[in-house]
């Protein structure tokens, strides 16, 4: 279970302190949770903190019994490798690796054998409908195909948590719908899927919607039947 406890992040911009995330507390249950808010509301900073890309000024991110802020950079990398998968809006794939190698990359970091990771990467590409595109470099794939490769890669080590940051932002509606369907499928299978988006229509497909404004969690909406717990504050 991923839990944010009183998360607070402020930046110094010259003489001014900017609060990006303001005492955010929430336990993320399994299923799809969308984080929405206008530009500058702190969505990306919140995801950075939850994923351990950055450390909070105050508060904690807890994964099971592990407090991320107590870990070194390499410790947080290890947590991401074993427990988290990522789909970003852009810069998703390593441009010099083929689709298959991109999917196999986390498995290589985890020390799986070449045979094992190639077999699993091929199966994951097949599952996202790209079984025939494994040998293609990212620049030979469409935007939608690249996002599906990223989803396959995010599932490489079968992590319990999946982060998706504006995953349909650069896609046409058909490609976007396919990506969303894949994410929903992962949520239905019991993974914690955290979707950051400014697209309210997309957010409506989630079981919970967290509304952020000026870094604060201002509202929790449940358009679909709730699976997890309500926010604790």
């Amino acid at each position: 279970m991923l839990e944010a406890i009183n998360l607070h992040k402020r930046y110094h911009q010259g003489e001014i302190d900017v609060v990006a995330v303001d005492h955010f507390t929430y336990r993320f249950p399994a299923g799809l949770t969308a984080i929405v808010g206008p530009s500058g509301s702190g969505k990306t900073t919140l995801l950075n903190l939850l994923a351990g890309f950055d450390v909070p000024s105050e508060g904690e991110v807890r994964l099971g019994t592990t407090l991320l802020s107590t870990l070194s950079e390499d410790g947080r990398s290890e947590v991401r490798l074993r427990h988290m998968g990522f789909v970003f809006q852009q810069w998703n794939l390593i441009p010099t690796l083929t689709a298959l190698e991109n999917v196999a990359f986390p498995m290589m970091l985890a020390g799986l054998s070449l045979k094992e990771r190639n077999a699993r990467a091929a199966a994951l590409l097949e599952a996202v409908g790209l079984g025939q595109r494994g040998k293609h470099l990212p620049n030979k794939l469409s935007g939608g195909e690249q996002q599906r490769v990223a989803i396959a890669r995010a599932l490489a080590l079968n992590p319990p948590i999946l982060f998706a940051d504006e995953p349909t932002g650069n896609l046409d509606s058909a490609s976007g719908a396919r990506v969303v369907e894949l994410l929903l499928h992962q949520a239905r299978e019991g993974r914690t899927v955290i979707l950051v988006t400014h697209d309210l229509e997309l957010a409506r497909k989630a079981e919970r919607i967290l509304h952020l404004k000026d870094g604060r969690l201002v509202r929790v909406e449940a358009p679909a039947p709730l699976v997890g717990a309500l926010p604790s504050s």
């Binding site: 990398s77 991401r80 970091l109």
Partner: protein, 364 residues
């Protein structure tokens, strides 16, 4: 394209180092071969004179007589004095080395491996036996006349077979002729044979302590002296080639650093996916190392080719291979290339491994 140009840069700097250093290796090999071709094991020189800079003949006949007289006690079985005269300059085409050997003796006494191609092996009092390369270069044939000085002329009486050494470029004449040309009775040095039951070191030591006014050097002493001289010149040549190597290293560092800056997002993505700092550090260092090693290997091939070219030229001119790319030199060059790659890659690797994920991915 940038990587290819960098590879070429390293290849050229490594090749220049290989070529520079190959002269030392070539000299070692040539010296070893030459000295092993000399029959007598001990060289007696006037005191204060080194084997490689004999200069004007200073070994007096009286000293030689004293040496011959004491020979049985010193473990000496033969004393072959000789006198050397050079004519010409730096151009090998116009340089002549006359080696005056005792009258009635053949050059085989000094160089046992010499064989006659045509004529006589032992020169008469006004005769000369000519090395093969010199004869070929100057179109010398039997009966041709050589002028040693305005008053001294010699007739070619014998031409030697090719031996592949310095003797191919020597004109062997009676010592009295060279002494006449130089206006002296002295000798340059004397080659001394060692009696059975004695070692060259024992004989050399005995000569040094028992015969005044001379120094005695064994083949080993000469080689050690040469090794010291070659090692000093090795250092000088390595110092010069170091400049090229540093330029090569900076090329690698520049290329890898540029590559790191261009791939910041890629490294950020790798870190986001769970790569540790050490993984990124190793990845960048490996790339620099690969540039160094592949460039080094290319440089080795280029250096070997350049060395072959040098040997072709010196072989044609003086009959000697003055450059040698030995296994030791090749290993050293590769080691230098590896160290170069590692040093050049260290800073870019450190920079890449310390990137912050949020900054690298532009997620601020």
């Amino acid at each position: 394209m940038r990587s290819i140009l960098t590879l070429l840069g390293i290849a050229v700097s490594t090749a220049s180092m290989v070529l520079f250093m190959s002269f030392g290796e070539g000299l070692r090999k040539a010296l070893g071969a030459e000295l092993s071709a000399v029959g007598p094991a001990v060289l007696v020189l006037p005191e204060g004179v080194e084997a490689f800079s004999p200069g004007y003949p200073e070994l007096r006949p009286e000293t030689l007589e004293a040496l011959k007289k004491a020979a049985p006690d010193l473990g000496i079985n033969q004393v072959i004095p000789y006198v050397v005269l050079t004519r010409g300059g730096f151009d090998p085409q116009n340089s002549f080395v006359f080696q005056g050997i005792p009258d009635g003796l053949s050059p085989k006494a000094l160089y046992p491996n010499l064989n006659l191609a045509t004529g006589n092996l032992t020169p008469s009092p006004r005769g000369a036996v000519v090395g093969s390369r010199l004869a070929e270069r100057n179109q010398l044939s039997l009966g041709k006349v050589l002028r040693l000085s305005p008053g001294v002329s010699l007739r070619v009486e014998g031409i030697l077979q090719k031996s592949g050494g310095l003797s191919d470029n020597i004109i062997f004449v009676p010592a009295s002729v060279v002494q006449e040309a130089l206006g002296t009775r002295n000798y340059t040095a004397a080659a001394v044979g060692v009696s059975a039951g004695f070692t060259a070191d024992q004989v050399a030591e005995a000569i040094r302590t028992r015969v005044a006014g001379v120094s005695a050097q064994t083949t080993g002493d000469v080689l050690r002296f040469a090794e010291r001289a070659v090692r000093i010149s090795d250092l000088v040549r390595f110092g010069i080639s170091l400049v090229a190597l540093i330029v090569g290293g900076l090329l690698v560092a520049n290329t890898v650093m540029m590559s790191v800056y261009e791939r910041i997002r890629e490294f950020g993505l790798m870190r986001a996916l769970g790569a540790r700092r050490g993984f990124i550090f190793g990845l960048v260092l490996l790339e620099a190392l690969l540039l160094g090693v592949v460039g080094g290997l290319l440089g080795l091939v280029l250096g070997q080719a350049a060395s072959g070219l040098v040997n072709w030229y010196t072989g044609r001119e003086v009959g000697l291979a003055l450059s040698a790319v030995t296994f030791r030199l090749a290993s050293f060059a590769l080691l230098v290339a590896v160290v170069l790659g590692l040093l050049a890659g260290f800073l870019p690797a450190r920079t890449a491994s310390r990137l912050k994920v949020v900054e690298a991915l532009g997620r601020l």
